[in-house]
């Protein structure tokens, strides 16, 4: 079967590229976070390793590799080692269905930029993976045999369950408008109107809800209660050290990248060029057009990453009861209403 | 590519899982593990329904699985709430220690 062999080769190359890309993005995030936080606090930030401190994240990782790996005496050894692996692998698994550019035609073979972006349950897969992502943190909290870790793990699972609902409901609006669960279709639907039929214009309320829940699902400030350092020492990763801690760290930044990418794909037009491709003289399926699409996409993702970091260093953390009130009493009713209004709109206007 | 597995294999797997679940329900004392064993049995039935649905080319099996999942979700919410209430009043979730009708 030569066809299946080609498919496997194509998928492996894409998978390697995606995994490598996520690691690089995590490094970029760490650098941006340290620089922007320094700027926000009137400091200089990393400036010793490499030009402008750009190699600082790599130095951090080497430091983590060389650290001693400590497992607490009464910890559950198996789950203590499993938890970080689970966290990181699920953060990467989401990328199986995420496209990051249009397609390239090589010969008579159409290659989509993404491992399996046109699978017709892509959106459900993403929701499933984000909801499974909580296991890493919860298990880390439980297996460390430490009260702070346990509290962090409990908070994390409660928070994820609460915000997942609003996240799913806000995406239903998009599914209603697009009529498909495949991420490629969702982006292609936004390419109409000369590339300006972005879902943010059709679904402003859904966008705000998705943005808030994305912060909550990635445990980023102001929703970083699972690792609230003034209350819980280090939260779920109190008892972790060395590369196991590094894996949680990587998973957090990978999740941040994933959330930004998802917001761009779902609401901000994906790789839609600001002007039609014909005016730039680019053909469908050419490498140049795919590169231009990727560039637009990447710039949008970078701006969202900046936004994520900006919010973290500007807004104080929620109290736990405020978090639950926001999730259940405000976001959930609004997202239900949004689904209802979108359904009426699709029924009568489309 | 995938036709080579006969329906009977799926049914036998599902029967084995169902029996494992039922043994769990009968032998364990911890209410949460009993609850999980019931989920195992439900899933075994789901596997049977989906395999029949795919082999017969009839969608109603999968629709049924959809309903089973909704009922399982409702059951999880209620069951876990009952377990919590039980723990609060008896400080145990072992079913053989809960032997009074009224306390």
């Amino acid at each position: 079967m030569p066809e299946i062999i080609w498919t496997i080769i194509e998928a492996s190359i894409k998978a390697l590229a995606v995994v490598g890309g996520i690691q690089l993005m995590a490094a970029l995030n760490v650098y941006l976070e340290r620089k922007i936080s320094a700027f926000a606090q009137n400091r200089i930030g990393p400036n010793r390793v490499g030009p402008f401190g750009t190699l600082q994240p790599f130095a951090d990782v080497f430091k983590l590799f060389l650290k001693e790996d400590i497992v607490p005496k009464n910890a559950d050894k198996f789950f203590h080692s499993l938890a970080p692996v689970l966290s990181l692998s699920i953060a990467i698994a989401v990328w199986a269905v995420i496209p990051f550019s249009s397609y390239v035609d090589i010969g008579d073979r159409r290659i989509y930029m993404g491992i399996a972006p046109d699978i017709n349950v892509g959106l459900l897969f993403i929701l499933a993976m984000t909801s499974v992502g909580v296991y890493g943190i919860t298990l880390a909290g439980w297996s460390s045999n430490n009260k702070y870790s346990l509290l962090g793990g409990l908070r994390s699972s409660a928070q994820m369950i609460s915000y997942e609902l609003s996240m799913g409901l806000s995406l239903i609006g998009i599914v209603l408008i697009t009529g498909s669960l495949s991420l490629n279709d969702i982006v292609n639907h936004q390419l109409a109107w000369d590339g300006w039929r972005w879902n943010i214009f059709l679904q402003p309320v859904g966008f705000v809800i998705f943005l808030i829940t994305a912060f909550a699902e990635t445990n980023r400030a102001p929703f970083d209660l699972p690792e609230a350092e003034p209350e819980l020492v280090g939260g779920f990763n109190t008892e972790y050290s060395g590369m196991k801690f590094g894996m949680f760290f990587l998973a957090e930044y990978a999740n941040m990248t994933t959330s930004s990418v998802l917001i761009v794909l779902f609401y901000l037009g994906g790789w839609a060029l600001p002007v039609p491709a014909e005016t730039l003289g680019l053909k469908d399926g050419s490498i140049a057009l795919a590169a231009a699409h990727f560039l637009v996409f990447f710039i949008k993702v970078l701006m969202l990453l900046f936004f994520f970091i900006w919010v973290r260093w500007s807004i104080p953390r929620f109290r736990y009861d405020q978090l639950m009130n926001l999730g259940w009493k405000i976001l959930l009713p609004i997202s239900l209403l949004n689904v209802l209004l979108t359904a009426l709109g699709v029924l009568y206007l489309k | 590519m995938l036709q080579s597995i006969p329906l009977e294999y799926y049914l036998i797997i599902s029967a084995v899982i169902f029996i494992i679940g039922s043994i769990g329900v009968i032998t364990r004392r911890n209410a949460i593990i009993i609850f999980m064993s019931i989920e195992l049995m439900l899933n075994a039935v789901n596997l049977t329904l989906v395999s029949f649905s795919s082999f017969l080319g009839d969608v109603s099996g999968q629709i049924f699985v959809f309903f089973v999942m909704s009922v399982a979700a409702a059951e999880a919410a209620i069951g876990l709430a009952i377990i919590l209430a039980l723990f609060r009043s008896k400080q145990t979730i072992y079913v053989d220690e809960v032997n009074l009708l009224k306390w």
Binding site: G141, A158 | I5, I20, S22, I23, G24, V71, A72
Partner: protein, 169 residues
């Protein structure tokens, strides 16, 4: 052909093994993680049956929602290992295993002797497994059960809140 056989064998053996882990481990968290793994393997088996929507729902509902809730409760109650009973041989276990074996033999004979269906048609199966087809069926032919399930879920939410809430006084 061999690829699909290997896939099926691995998935089903892992599914049965993790089901056994679920009912045999002492600590409920280990049971729960065994069950989560079992659900993933079942999702894989659904994929070999071309039921992709059900496979995604399996992970989303069972692994993502129900089991997170179960683990949350286990951690909240801070349960430890299940202690042994006082007597050595638990009659309930003996009876349970015996009954289970009898049931297995019964189901096995019924399935192996009495089932005869036409072969697996991948095109038809892949068509009915999509979200679009299932959604159409659900909201036209099965609209009444969907509404009933909605009422059931609402009742379950209310019931869970009433049961879990502390007495106000």
């Amino acid at each position: 052909m061999t690829l699909s056989v290997v896939l099926f064998a691995v998935l089903s053996i892992l599914a049965i093994a993790s089901a056994l882990v679920t009912i045999t481990s002492k600590h409920p968290i280990r049971s729960a993680m065994g069950l989560v793994f079992h659900f993933f393997m079942l999702a894989g088996l659904y994929l070999t049956l071309s039921a992709q929507f059900i496979a995604a729902l399996q992970v989303l509902v069972y692994a993502g929602a129900i089991m997170v809730l179960v683990i949350f409760v286990i951690m909240l109650l801070n349960l430890g290992d299940e202690e042994k009973l006082k007597y050595k041989v638990n009659p309930r276990q003996v009876i349970g295993i015996f009954l289970g074996a009898a049931l297995l033999v019964m189901l096995g004979t019924i399935y192996v002797t009495n089932v005869s269906v036409a072969g697996f048609n991948k095109e038809i199966a892949a068509n009915i497994g999509t979200a679009q087809f299932l959604g159409n069926e659900l909201y036209t032919k099965y609209i009444f059960p969907v509404e009933a399930i909605g009422i059931l879920l609402t009742a379950a939410i209310v019931g869970a809140i009433v049961l879990a809430k502390r007495k106000l006084n």
